[in-house]
């Protein structure tokens, strides 16, 4: 059989090709909606290790001086009370600059970044977070001198609180 036409006529083959391209574009547009996101928010679908790698690289985190107060079993994953305390000093030369909070099992593990100043007097912050499933809760504190301190606490969740 001889091909008589090389133009853009609508044969079965070109139709399938163009439909495929259009479908791919539609999917791409749906998967990455042009949302205005806060500067520090995570990239969609990142897991906890990728988030930590992106934020801290290979910097050493010492697992001391930080306490996470959370329930051992959280019945409702939509409301998990969390208190992060540290005995690190809060004076003008040396203070806790930032508290980063993560829940490993969430669709977006990075939950909050809290910037403190010496005017706070004590390095403490309490909030209530959502957790999708049983996982670890992490806190990583950054001091003004650039050191990192962290803590990990496992929390069991009976009913997930993120939906989806």
């Amino acid at each position: 059989m001889e091909q008589e036409d090389k133009g853009p006529a609508l044969t079965r083959r070109t139709f399938i090709k163009s439909a495929g391209v259009a479908g791919a574009m539609f999917l791409a547009a749906g998967a990455f909606p042009p949302l205005v996101r806060p500067a520090l928010a995570a990239v969609k679908g990142e897991n906890i290790n990728e988030v930590l790698k992106r934020q801290f690289g290979n910097r050493k985190v010492s697992m001391s001086h930080v306490t996470i107060n959370a329930p051992i079993i959280a019945e409702n994953g939509a409301v998990v009370p969390l208190t992060i305390t540290s005995d690190l000093p809060m004076n003008n030369n040396d203070y806790v600059k930032k508290i980063n909070v993560y829940a490993d099992g969430n669709p977006e593990p990075y939950i909050a970044g809290i910037e403190l100043t010496p005017a706070n007097g004590k390095a403490m912050f309490a909030m209530r977070i959502k957790m999708r499933k049983t996982s670890n809760v992490r806190a990583i504190l950054e001091t003004s001198r650039g050191q990192l301190y962290g803590a990990i606490k496992p929390v069991k969740v009976t009913i997930g609180g993120c939906g989806g």
């Binding site: 806060p38 995570a42 939509a78 909050a112 403190l116 100043t117 309490a126 209530r128 993120c162």
Partner: protein, 108 residues
């Protein structure tokens, strides 16, 4: 539900230089953008992503939040009460809403 109703609680009597606990509550749905309603449509993301806490003219604390914070966010933190000044908390959400309230702190 009224969005953006704020309650701030500080101790009744404050001594100068004392480190006081501050508690604040704001009403907000904090929708994640992952949950569907009964008609099967996704409820769009609607959450507070930025919190600024000012003591006088100084910004003492700043929070970047994702939707992982529970609905009606409650926060608690410490503040060194060393001057007579208002404590102002400003919440901003991802749809441009700004909610703020201040309490006067008068240490004796």
């Amino acid at each position: 539900m009224v969005v953006g109703r704020i309650k701030i609680r500080v101790p009744g009597t404050i001594r100068k230089g004392e480190v006081i606990p501050v508690m604040a509550l704001v009403s907000h749905p904090m929708d994640t953008g992952l949950i569907k309603n009964k008609a099967g449509q996704i409820i769009p993301a609607y959450y507070i992503n930025d919190v600024d806490i000012f003591y006088g003219n100084e910004r003492v604390t700043h929070c970047d939040w994702s939707y992982g914070i529970s609905a009606n966010p409650f926060i608690s933190f410490y503040l060194k009460a060393d001057k007579t000044a208002p404590l102002k908390i400003v919440y901003k959400d991802n749809k441009g809403g700004v909610y703020q309230q201040s309490v006067q702190i008068t240490p004796r």
